[in-house]
Amino acid sequence: MASIGKLNRHQAKMAYLFITPTMVLFLVFTIIPVVMALFLSFTNYDVVSRMDFVGVDNYKRLVDDSLFWQTFKNVFYYAIVFVPLNILISLLLGMLMNFKRPGVRLFRTMNYLPTLTSAVAAATVWIWLLHPEFGLVNGILSYFGVVGPAWLAQTETAMLSIILVTLWQSVGSNMIIYIAGLQGIPEYLYESAKLDGATAFDRFRYITWPQLRPTTFLVSTMSIIGALQLFDQAFVLTQGGPGNVTKTPVYLIYQQGFNQLQMGYASAQAFILALAILIFSFINMRINKSEESII
């Protein structure tokens, strides 16, 4: 008995050694920052001068900061269009690409290619595609006699352009997730439904959609969290313009914190954004749960 206890103790000691690097890095670069995030938002930290505790001053200032709320409005508009479209297109694409036909793997690969690109490279390419005079998009539109807008320079189309580019970049990987989800649905469900005379729409409504709920929950959660933290594409495609209509909270926090060095204030903004992400993830969770009880 004693030797087994000794062996286990040795094993535990080695296990602690194995996880030490991970846990130390986790402590330094996750736990400490999370605790500090709240703390910094109550200070006037600006990298150069002395850091003082300023109470809720940052939050008071934030209430009247119209640019801050404008960025929230922008990103909500973006998320409200992007997230449902992302789910819908990925799901339809997943269903289409789940058919077993010759060549389907090639189509999957083509749809997946955009997800490999970095946000910066994709945005750079799309700046050129959306060029008002010489761009491919307006060039193709002109075949149909349509004069395309200056996509990135007009207030009405700038955010739509970002939505288009981010959709192009994200539906491919969500398509793969949906295909994996679809392949996990047992075949006999469809067979028995067919025997009972269920139409294709019924089968989707009562088998596919409910069976895919965990997948949809994952895809929607990830796209909400990603959408509310939109930065790269807005930074490269439009630099937040025209007239701040594509400036996002992360963009503002970056400028406030790292260009103007008002890190205390930027921390307060980041905290409010994190709160918004939490609330929307929670709402999304409730929607996914409530659906369960209906069906």
């Binding site: 094993q11 535990a12 296990a15 991970t22 330094v28 500090m36 193709i140 997948t215 930065f231």
Partner: protein, 309 residues
């Protein structure tokens, strides 16, 4: 290859006398291909267009109506991209950062993933749960405090023991590598894989007097090669494509990554679309090559993120 059996199945059905069924199947097929091709063309067009632009002589680029193919192929824009800015250096910097990220995550991720999956110790589940929960924290929360931690990292970059005086790990590659060196995702991913491996090999090796680290390194780790490949590709892609964090940490132009270089190029040379497209394609190329070589592992990785939900 996988489509073979179902094709046989379909043709045997189609051979049955029901003509209406056959025409419906043909219409379904036609619809499938029409829609799939249209979507694939849309998805691929930006790649095609940027490639064509990068190979066109400048006068072809600005033409109305648009010109689909170059009148003559030139590599001038690629030469320009590499000479106007040090693109080769940026490429190298990104490669170093991405490869270091991959190696660190593969090693630390599998080491602690193995411990969480196979070894018994107090606090195993609790610590693992905390790691897992941390994956839900949005990046924006830790952005500014992580900067603070890097800046005040003791004994580095001219800092004293209390983290004052210098710039810490800012403006060094360590500031990118260390925060992501053992991501929660890597630990979680490897743990799930180690759980699928049997434990009796471990018992046997212990009876033979094998050291714990050797059991991990020589017996279990070689069995996880497919998982390591998937995780490696994932980490490489994330490292290569990351933009905001390197931009915050690295100020020295000589340390800029390819994404930062590309962004600066497209901002500073706003009408040089030829070199811009050449640069964008170069920034995409390594991932594209990896993908074409190791497609299977990419897809497995994403399917895994789907399973965990």
């Amino acid at each position: 290859m996988k489509t073979q059996p179902s094709r046989l199945g379909r043709s045997s059905i189609a051979a049955s006398p029901a003509v209406s069924y056959r025409t419906r199947a043909a219409a379904g097929n036609a619809l499938f291909y029409a829609v799939s091709i249209a979507i694939a063309v849309f998805m691929f067009l930006p790649f095609f267009w940027s490639l064509m632009t990068s190979l066109k002589p400048s006068e072809d680029i600005f033409s109305i109506p648009i010109r689909w193919l170059p009148s003559e192929v030139t590599l001038e824009h690629y030469r320009q991209a590499f000479t106007t800015v040090p693109f080769g250096l940026y490429f190298w910097n990104s490669l170093v950062l991405a490869v270091a990220g991959v190696l660190a995550n593969l090693f630390f991720g599998s080491l602690s993933g193995y411990a969480f999956a196979k070894l018994h110790f107090r606090g195993n589940t609790a610590m693992f749960r905390v790691l897992l929960a941390a994956m839900m924290i949005p990046g924006i929360v830790t952005m500014i405090p992580s900067f603070y931690v890097l800046k005040h990292f003791p004994l580095f970059g001219g800092n004293d023991l209390l983290g004052g005086g210098g710039n810490g790990l800012l403006n060094s590659f360590w500031g990118i590598i260390l925060p992501g060196a053992s991501g929660s995702f890597a630990v979680f991913f490897m743990r799930q894989f180690f759980l699928t491996l049997p434990s009796d090999m471990m018992e046997m090796a212990r009876i033979e007097g094998c050291k714990e680290f050797r059991i991990f390194w020589n017996i279990y780790l070689p069995l996880t090669k497919p998982a390591l490949a998937t995780l490696g590709i994932f980490t490489f892609q994330a490292g290569w494509n990351s933009f905001l964090w390197p931009m915050i940490v690295l100020n020295d132009p000589d340390k800029a990554t390819i994404q930062m270089g590309l962004q600066a190029f497209s901002y500073n040379y706003q009408t040089d679309y030829g070199p811009m497209m050449a640069g964008a394609l170069i920034a995409i190329l390594p991932i594209l090559i990896l993908f074409l070589l190791l497609q299977k592992y990419f897809v497995q990785g994403i399917a895994f993120t789907g399973v965990k939900g």
